[in-house]
Amino acid sequence: MAYLQNREPVGAWTRIILAYKRYSGTWAYLLHRITGIGLTTYLFVHIWALSSLTKGHAAFQEEMKTFTAFPFKVLEWALGALVMFHAFNGIRIAIVDLGNGARYQKKLLGAVYVVGIGLVLLMFFLIFQNDLFASK
């Protein structure tokens, strides 16, 4: 954080956040880690929750009643945002590491956000279609 040395003293976290402010790639690095840890945590919950499939039809449907309630639909949609960012930023990382992507990583990051936000908005209509549109 050499380029911030002449500022007035601030807390360590504030300094880190200020240092990251101008660099979209560093934010992507942080977001990639946070979404990655979030998705791994979710994977544990997911495997544990779906183990009720072995308990049979009635038990599974009863459990799914909870998970299709409105708050869980919102969480499901939010999960999609984590998946889309981590997946498309992951492609960007692979292009930077294995190809020539370092030369155009900012443009790739722009594409990650555009494609990601587009798919997240699309998923909004898919997940909430029963709440948004009158059923046939």
């Binding site: 880690r33 495997i47 499939l53 072995t54 799914m64 639909k73 898919l126 997940i127």
Partner: protein
């Protein structure tokens, strides 16, 4: 002389202690998971019942290809996730006992939960009431 890009890629397979093969495997599993996870997420949520209904799940799991794909998905996903967490842990200089404890915890959690997932897939009985 400039190195050929194939040499550049081959050099990642050399080091035994460097973690380079794991780094490469993280890229490969990651790219596989892009297809598997995004496909899985859209398939499970393209309508409100698709991923949350016992009968549609049972009809999908009657296909051995689908079942095999899901076994691979659980394993690759858990490997990539825990390798990623380990990657984050290695960026901090922690005390050795703490590092080993975290490594052990991640390993044990991974084995337990992959086992749980495989158990769900393999002992699933669509005719159970």
């Amino acid at each position: 002389m400039q190195k050929q890009s194939s040499d550049h890629l081959r050099s990642y397979a050399k080091g035994r202690k460097s973690g380079a093969p794991a780094w490469m495997l993280q890229r490969i599993t990651g790219l596989a998971l892009v297809i598997l996870t995004v496909g899985h997420y859209i398939l499970m949520h393209y309508n409100p019942t698709s991923g949350h209904d016992y009968d549609s799940t049972a009809s999908r799991l009657s296909s051995p290809i689908f079942k095999g794909m899901y076994l691979a998905f659980i394993t690759i996903g858990m490997y990539h996730g825990l390798q990623g967490c380990w990657n984050v842990v290695r960026d901090f200089k922690l005390r050795p006992w703490l590092t080993y404890t975290i490594f052990g915890t991640l390993l044990v959690l991974g084995i337990i939960f992959v086992g749980m997932g495989w158990n769900t897939m393999l002992t699933f009985d669509p005719n159970k009431p």
